[in-house]
Symmetry: C2
Subunit: 310 residues, 2 copies
């Protein structure tokens, strides 16, 4: 992507509240491509703040979120969903009139409930969720290409169209495709594509860990047969995911209910030896993979091109 | 790996019965490194046989398995588990005295029951299971490095130690690490590391496909948030997996029972808002990922180094 000229700077000052994988990747990309003026960052831990300066995730750090948002044109809340309300209460009195507040939470309905009521008039809230990440977390895990070809979903209320347009331009400039949708719909879609799969992966890995008869070392040694893909998902940040499940409860539990229903049907087919049912089911699921590859959302290389565990 | 000298040839003639991903990868590797003399292959479909010749998976093909095993020192059954008995009955009268018969099935107990009783005296049966594969299948999906750094599990009965040693040498020469274990233990371990995870992935992908409210296109578009990893597993060969579940019924159903038990406990924690339970669980599972990477069974690169869907 071509470097943006100063005249193309989208925000004079951006405040990143929380400096983990997402904020770090945003900071590196905004700086690499000159998308904004100054980037101010803050995190609760002094160690995280000094790592952020060391890695150049932002231009300067402040000890508190209240200081960080001073004169910021864009404030991005990059903290776990469960911390959104506390942070919002802290920064609200210090927000610049006309500023835009956004977030990167994996849940939108609960975040809107936690943030919107505490913002002063004249500040636009444009919730956002970049569908990008890795199993790694923390300030050292960010990289500027994280958002390339990924989707960023905005759930604007519609009362600040210009602020929403500018934020969408920023996400596109960081490499994302941008869609907008209703918060409730977002939470239902993500329950299927992300939240339920994560809980299922966590569960399977926990079960394997519980089985003393099959020693951990065997589970690990022979994990390449499928299990290792689950462990990658189940290595994601525990705090982030705890908050996701607690804040997208209904949609996630509904999908999990559908899942167990379906799983019981397949278990019965196995028990009864109904090979036709199994074969038809497995043939149907194969087509979905093809669709994902054609949509450019994954690689067609065998084993994700991890080739192989080298 | 250094080319083997002719004097190091492990088998003068090898017969591959079935020419899919595993047989194709074996053929390419054995030829690349000069591990054996002649490789004869056979498959039910004439198209598969001509592709095998076109790609050089074997030196020649025969129309029937009976012809393929003639004068073969090693016969490897590379057909779905459900086809093992039929193929064994067909080849048994034509096996060379002193020959070794092996297989590459994902289940060992059921394969031993299907094959061993039909083999003539003087033929050694050494069951094998290479823990290697991709979501692709068929003769065009093989590649000679498939087995590098993967495990191959042998479950020999112990009455033909020399035949087992030679087969272990072949698998090591093809890049694998080799372990031996009891068939029942193998089937229990694989139920955890492979069979249950596959059924769970198939189930989740099927559920997503069923949800009309969340359109397929949305599931596919936004799959990068975790779901896409499930779809890779759920793209595996339907016939192979149908047979795996039907032939490792008890162990798989037992693990699935443990899984649903655990899943219900986590669902209850979500419903009750028990964040401590979730956080403790997710923290524990994270450690297992680390073990797998340290054991060299997966890459530590973010997102398997797929970087990212490019």
């Amino acid at each position: 992507m071509a470097r943006a000229e100063p005249m193309n700077v989208l925000y004079e000052r951006v405040a990143l509240i929380g400096l983990g994988l997402i904020a770090g990747s945003m900071g590196l990309r905004m700086k690499r491509d000159g998308l904004v003026g100054e980037i101010v960052g803050t995190a609760r831990s002094p160690e995280t703040r000094s790592i952020a300066i060391e890695l150049g995730l932002c231009d300067r750090v402040t000890d508190t979120a209240a200081e960080a948002v001073k004169d910021a044109d864009l404030v991005v809340l990059c903290v776990p969903v469960g911390a959104m309300e506390t942070v919002t209460r802290e920064i609200a009195p210090h927000l610049k009139p006309g500023a835009t507040v956004s977030d990167v939470g994996s849940v939108k309905g609960a975040v809107i409930d936690a943030v919107a009521p505490h913002l002063p008039a004249g500040v636009a809230f444009i919730p956002a969720h970049p569908l990008a990440g890795t199993e790694h977390s923390g300030p050292r895990s960010g990289f500027p290409e994280l958002f390339d070809n990924r989707w960023c979903l905005l759930t604007p209320t519609g009362d600040a169209p210009e602020a929403a347009d500018r934020l969408a331009r920023l996400w596109r400039a960081m490499g994302s495709n941008v869609d907008t949708m209703e918060p409730d719909h977002h939470d239902r879609v993500l329950a299927v594509t992300s939240h339920a799969p994560h809980l299922i992966a966590y569960t399977m890995v926990g079960v394997a860990d519980d089985l003393r008869r099959v020693t951990d070392s065997e589970v690990i040694k022979y994990s390449a047969a499928g299990f290792r893909d689950f462990t990658r998902i189940a290595a994601s940040d525990p705090v982030m995911w705890r908050d996701v499940f607690l804040n997208n409860k209904e949609a996630t539990l509904e999908i999990l209910g559908r899942f167990t229903e379906e799983l019981f049907a397949l278990q019965r087919a196995i028990r009864k030896g109904d090979g036709d049912h199994l074969h038809a089911y497995f043939t149907r699921t194969r087509a979905i993979r093809r669709g994902i590859i054609e949509a450019g959302q994954d690689t067609d290389k065998p084993n994700f091109g991890r080739g192989d565990a080298s």
